[in-house]
């Protein structure tokens, strides 16, 4: 019982925290973000396992976490509203080569992020070659080039 409560609490708390932190927080995956991710997992480990290091407890925690993940994926499929709240929605940040500055500031990305994604994914050189740039729900930026 205890293992299940602990795992559920941590799962929900992390879900809320990362949602509040914003989608860009751990999506860039710079080396420091990677370290941050490791530290977060270290910090949650003890809270989830308590002082019970048995295989039973470990398995219960893992089963609970995976179960919750499956449950939430079903909830999201049934209810688009829930998906909106849990995952967020994609958003256009560059429209026909024109950066939508106001939205970009509030989403905490800038033109450099968009241009870097454009170079990486499409080999584009300038903003005016971008038809659309979309900040995806996952936090990544996808680029649709103008057809030449």
């Amino acid at each position: 019982m205890d293992a299940i409560t602990r795992a559920t609490l941590i799962y929900v708390a992390l879900l809320v925290l990362f949602r509040i932190a914003g989608r860009r927080t751990l999506m860039q995956m710079t080396s420091f973000d990677f370290i941050l991710l490791l530290i977060v997992s270290e910090a949650t480990q003890n809270a989830m396992l308590g002082d019970d290091y048995s295989v039973t407890n470990g398995l219960l925690v893992i089963v609970t976490l995976i179960g919750l993940d499956i449950l939430f994926s079903h909830v999201k499929r049934w209810s688009p509203g829930a998906e909106k709240w849990l995952d967020g929605l994609p958003m256009v940040v560059v429209d026909n080569g024109k950066p939508l500055k106001d939205l970009m500031i509030r989403a905490r990305i800038d033109e450099r992020d968009v241009l870097s994604a454009a170079r990486e994914k499409q080999g584009l050189e300038r903003m005016d070659q971008i038809k659309y740039a979309v900040l995806e729900a996952s936090g990544g930026i996808s680029i649709i080039p103008k057809s030449s």
Binding site: V16, I20, G88, L89, V92, N96, R106, Y132, I144
Partner: protein, 163 residues
């Protein structure tokens, strides 16, 4: 948005951003209150209650489940011929904590109908005796207790055990 098939919802997005900002404020508040000691180990948490002339306890009001806590009890030595001094903890409190140790060791422990009495011997001519009770909370939530001296001086304790 042109011919881009996308389920964008700027109204929702703006609402989400407001919630996000609110969440940041809540996180900042959490960190601030934690530094003040709302979750233990800080000025808000430290409690010094009682009267230095009869019985006084110094303890942390906010503790966490699974971590040890101490009650530092000051007992001014009111002269008794044999130098004996005693301190009682009530049963409801003892039911919800585990007493890991008491320093110095009591010379005797006696079970009472409403708790446990711990006896100490104080060297003649000494002033205030300091007894530290090391405890481990066994449950979560509010925790109340009472410490009593033999001559009737008593202190109510209030603690909160965070999960």
């Amino acid at each position: 948005m042109g011919n881009l098939h996308i389920n964008q919802d700027l109204r929702f997005q703006k609402r989400m951003w407001r919630i996000e900002r609110g969440g940041w404020a809540a996180m900042a508040l959490l960190v601030l209150s934690a530094s003040a000691g709302l979750f233990g180990q800080g000025p808000v948490s430290r409690a010094i209650v009682g009267d230095p002339s009869s019985l006084m306890v110094d303890y942390e009001r906010f503790v966490r489940y699974g971590s040890p806590l101490q009650l530092r009890v000051s007992l001014p030595h009111i002269n008794t011929p044999d130098g004996s001094l005693s301190l009682k903890l009530n049963r409801e409190f003892l039911n919800r904590v585990r007493v890991s140790s008491i320093t110095p060791h009591p010379t005797a422990e006696a079970l009472l109908s409403d708790g446990v009495r711990y006896d100490f011997t104080v060297a003649p001519g000494e002033g205030t005796a300091l007894v530290t009770v090391h405890l481990q909370p066994q449950g979560m939530g509010p925790l109340t207790g009472e410490i009593r001296r033999d001559d009737g001086a008593r202190i109510a304790l209030w603690l909160f055990v965070f999960p």
